[in-house]
């Protein structure tokens, strides 16, 4: 698991679109405090926004846990309470959407993060883990 050896430092409840803004803000502030470069922060916070929105819109809400490392990285785990994703491969492909959006979201988050893991079972919710460098 990509978060092995990391320490939990924050936890953000995701139940509405205000929480998506809160998750972005809290992670941007933490990356600023850690001295992250502007482009790295923008890329990772954009990825965070995509997975947080997915949890709220498709996952019936969830929780985002933030992790710190000894090295110059940050990690998150986003766990939702949704129906799960039937085909992860399909969900990660650009242009795929079950709700009429453009479908760049999850695949975009994968491209914008340094490491990306997704676990999902129909009926069992979805867990996304991502790493970003500072």
């Amino acid at each position: 698991m990509i978060l092995d050896g990391a320490r939990e430092v924050d936890r953000i409840e995701l139940s509405g679109d205000r929480d998506v803004v809160r998750a972005r803000r809290r992670i941007a502030d933490r990356m600023d405090a850690l001295g992250a470069r502007a482009l790295r922060k923008t890329r990772f916070v954009t990825a965070v926004s995509e997975v947080a929105r997915n949890a709220v819109v498709h996952g019936g809400g969830g929780v985002m846990t933030v992790y710190a490392f000894k090295s110059a990285r940050i990690g998150i785990e986003c766990r939702d309470r949704g129906p799960g994703i039937a085909s992860i491969e399909q969900a990660l492909s650009d242009g795929f959407s079950t709700t009429g959006s453009m479908g760049h979201g999850l695949g975009g988050a994968k491209r914008l993060s340094d490491a990306f893991e997704i676990d999902s079972r129909p009926g069992g919710g979805t867990v996304v883990r991502m790493l970003g460098s500072l």
């Binding site: 998506v20 803000r25 482009l39 954009t46 926004s49 995509e50 959006s101 979201g105």
Partner: protein
């Protein structure tokens, strides 16, 4: 619409300033409010100032593209100003090129380009 976005009329152009804490609901409300204002005030242009936005994700990018298309159907040109370089690089990585959006570096540049277009 909450205070996360404000619309100011300037020289027949609607200037829209978007704050970083805008939610998905706010931005959809902004799309509605702005479409009404373009028609009501016969605006000939819209300038979307996104200098306050630290990130533009796929949802916000899609709404910006839709706003431009709606404005065009209502005979108003849209300029996006103040995009941060890191935001532009991230949008391209996301595969969102916003081909319909005209961009300008600042409000002054956008107003000058619009005046030029009107005079041609």
């Amino acid at each position: 619409m909450s205070s996360a976005a404000a619309i100011y009329p300037v020289e027949g152009v609607l200037l829209v300033s978007i704050r970083d804490d805008i939610t998905d609901t706010d931005i959809v409300d902004l799309q509605d409010a702005l479409s009404e204002r373009i028609a009501d005030e016969s605006a000939n242009g819209v300038v979307l100032d996104i200098s306050g936005l630290e990130i533009v994700d796929t949802f916000v990018g899609r709404v910006l593209a839709q706003l431009t298309s709606i404005a065009r159907l209502l005979d108003a040109e849209t300029f996006v100003v103040g995009m941060r370089p890191a935001v532009a690089m991230t949008l391209v990585e996301l595969g969102m090129y916003l081909p319909e959006n005209r961009t300008a570096l600042s409000l002054t540049h956008a107003l000058a380009k619009m005046r030029q277009m009107r005079d041609e």
